[in-house]
């Protein structure tokens, strides 16, 4: 159960951070497109739990949780959203282009599907250099419609690359449901299997299942040196881009929203931990620790300065 408390802490931390971003976003100081992962936090926590420092990650537009779960620096994340020089790319990339090389979070990119080949290339490098780690590639259900997804998986299977493709299937691409994008009956995991990868599919909001599957998949890559794909079913609670809830727009069935609210990963973790007599105390401490960390990060970000415009010409070329 120790593990689960750790998982809970990580998940809670990301949730609190994302909620703090949401709360402060309307102050109009974080001036960049921002995609929150509230509701989907468990997936990267469950994945990262089985990763080491040697493992690397790539992600998409919705990257905060992936960045944080991999060990990304919170202070640098918040400063990045504020566009400050202390941000993880000194304000150049913003929310959609995060990077923290120290923890192995290579980068997130903003074009749907376009970091999947990059992650695959990273795994190729690992294979060629006989490096210890593997690569994780995060993306959504929408990204699997891009040819880049398909071409990358084909290559990974061809070359037996050490990579874990993590598809967070939250069933929407912006406001568009799967039904207008993929044929009925599509299974992303079965499809991947036919491309040539071992694949898994699991409720990404269910702690035990998500953890077990992540572990099994990652172990498979480590032991067989072959790629896997894991399809995690999950749901985002808020709007696609921005801080608000948007269920007043009715693009998602009320009932569907409710089902997934009931299956919220944090709730699920709390329920699972409820029997633990020490949990309440642990939770209280966790909340206060996290809140303090968040406050510090925001204070640091707000008080940091913008980079100098004079430096804008730097790094066009190496």
């Amino acid at each position: 159960m120790a593990d689960l408390k750790h998982i809970y802490f990580q998940t809670l931390r990301i949730r609190k951070i994302e909620e703090a971003i949401a709360a402060k976003y309307s102050e109009q100081k974080m001036r960049c497109p921002t995609h929150l992962s509230i509701g989907q936090e468990l997936v990267p926590v469950a994945v990262s739990h089985f990763l080491t420092h040697a493992d690397k990650a790539y992600s998409s537009h919705r990257a905060h949780a992936h960045y944080l779960a991999k060990g990304g620096d919170l202070v640098k994340l918040i400063a990045e959203l504020y566009g400050k020089v202390s941000g993880c790319t000194a304000g150049r990339g913003g929310s959609m282009h995060l990077s923290d090389l120290e923890c192995g979070f290579i980068a997130s990119t903003a074009i749907v599907g376009n970091s999947i080949p990059l992650a695959t290339g990273n795994a190729l490098h690992q294979q060629l250099t006989r490096a210890e780690g593997l690569t994780v590639s995060y993306f959504g259900d929408g990204a699997t419609e891009e040819g880049a997804f398909y071409e990358s998986l084909n290559f990974a299977a061809l070359k037996s690359l050490p990579i874990v493709y993590v598809c967070e299937n939250n069933q929407y691409s912006v406001y568009s449901p799967l039904s207008v994008r993929q044929p009925t009956g599509r299974s992303i995991s079965k499809l991947s299997n036919e491309i040539g990868l071992k694949s898994f599919s699991v409720d990404g909001n269910n702690p035990t299942q998500a953890l077990q599957t992540s572990q099994a998949a990652i172990n498979y890559v480590r032991h067989h040196g072959k790629p896997v794909l894991i399809e995690y079913f999950t749901y985002r609670h808020r709007e696609h881009c921005g801080p608000h809830f948007d269920d007043d727009l009715n693009y998602r069935e009320q009932e569907e929203v409710q089902t997934w609210l009931d299956n919220d990963p944090l709730n699920n973790l709390e329920k699972a931990l409820d029997k633990d007599p020490e949990f309440k105390a642990f939770q209280k401490l966790a909340i206060s620790d996290i809140n303090q960390e968040i406050e510090q990060a925001f204070t640091a970000a707000e008080s940091a300065s913008f980079g100098s415009i004079e430096d804008n010409e730097r790094f066009i070329y190496d």
Partner: protein, 351 residues
């Protein structure tokens, strides 16, 4: 309708509505075309009016979807596709350049490609390196493509309607910051069905020719007005279609004014602005009093940060400064807007 204000977005919508009515084969597709935001309001109600068969959302698969649009167009379906950013469309260059642009030519005129692709140029609120590119120069470089770059509410509808009804593949580059631009009413706009004038002298003047399009044209018009007060009279020329420029109008203007500025929404190296400058030099060789000035983006990607983008986009003051430097007179800069990264106070982010 004639007594209510109309907007750039509304005119785009009107043009689509009319085209869909006029040509019952026509279809519209694009990511989120029927979603609650309706592509910045520009596709509002289209699906309700024309049905799900003719107006539909699509998979995130820009390359094949462009090819599918071309294939349908070749078969006889008039097609309009919309992408929310130019940047996303980079995935579809093979279909655009190897098929759409060349089809009519390489099959010896046997088929046409009645396909229009609306691409929205992003800007502001931290759009950053991959959500703000403006590639009119790329598209204009390819023979067989038509490129249309609207700038004003008064003719955007006409330009779009005509682009759609044209049987050639057309790239329609819409600047995000223009969508809320207002005109007094629909009657103040060019009639949708009339053939547009692609090169227009919007303001006459004797001292300077400013050639411009897209959002920069708004800045140019502002500069013209202000410079007038300082007794510098600028002629402002709109180039609504880089691939159908009426060069005579430009040469005539520069022969008169003897000085010229060309603006570009993109990077300037190997750009449309350089091309125009080159042609102006070559045809007004003896008339020009000083080198043509090119105003465009600096040669690096847009950083995301509010703090770093302050001087990334040229604006009315860049034009004023260029003119005053060139004419050797001091003219004070205009006061800047409160926030450089939004088109107006109404804009609260995030997309």
């Amino acid at each position: 309708m004639t007594d209510k204000t109309t907007s750039f977005a509304q005119q785009i919508l009107d043009a689509q509505n009319l085209a869909m009515q006029e040509d019952p084969t026509m279809i519209c597709m694009g990511l989120g075309i029927d979603d609650p935001k309706a592509i910045f309001g520009t596709t509002q109600g289209l699906q309700e009016t024309f049905g799900e068969q003719r107006v539909f959302d699509m998979p995130t698969a820009e390359n094949a979807m462009t090819g599918i649009g071309i294939g349908a167009a070749v078969a006889g379906t008039r097609v309009l596709m919309t992408h929310q950013r130019v940047d996303f469309f980079l995935l579809a260059m093979d279909q655009l350049v190897n098929n759409a642009a060349k089809w009519h030519y390489m099959f010896n005129g046997q088929m046409t490609v009645p396909l229009t692709i609306r691409l929205i140029v992003g800007r502001g609120w931290g759009q950053g390196p991959t959500h703000q590119q403006s590639l009119q120069s790329w598209f204009s470089h390819i023979p067989g493509l038509k490129v249309v770059v609207p700038s004003l509410t008064e003719n955007v509808g006409q330009l779009l309607y005509n682009a759609i009804m044209d049987n050639n593949p057309t790239i329609f580059l819409e600047h995000r910051w223009l969508h809320n631009q207002i005109a007094p009413n629909a009657a103040a706009c060019q009639p949708l069905t009339e053939a547009p004038q692609h090169t227009r002298v919007l303001r006459t003047g004797s001292d300077y020719t400013i050639i411009s399009n897209s959002y920069m044209l708004s800045e140019a018009l502002q500069a013209q007005k202000y410079l007038q007060q300082h007794n510098v009279h600028c002629e402002v020329i709109e180039i609504a279609s880089p691939t159908s420029i009426d060069w005579h109008i430009i040469y005539q203007s520069v022969s008169k004014t003897k000085r010229c500025i060309v603006t570009d929404m993109g990077h300037t190296f190997c750009s449309l602005a350089s091309e125009i400058a080159n042609k102006v030099y070559s045809h007004c060789f003896n008339a020009l009093l000083s080198p043509v000035s090119i105003i465009g983006l600096p040669n690096y990607p847009e950083p995301t940060s509010y703090g770093l983008t302050k001087e990334y986009y040229p604006d009315v003051n860049t034009i004023i400064k260029t003119v005053s430097n060139n004419c050797g007179i001091e003219i004070a800069q205009l006061k800047s807007r409160q926030h450089h990264d939004v088109p107006g106070e109404w804009f609260k982010g995030p997309f």
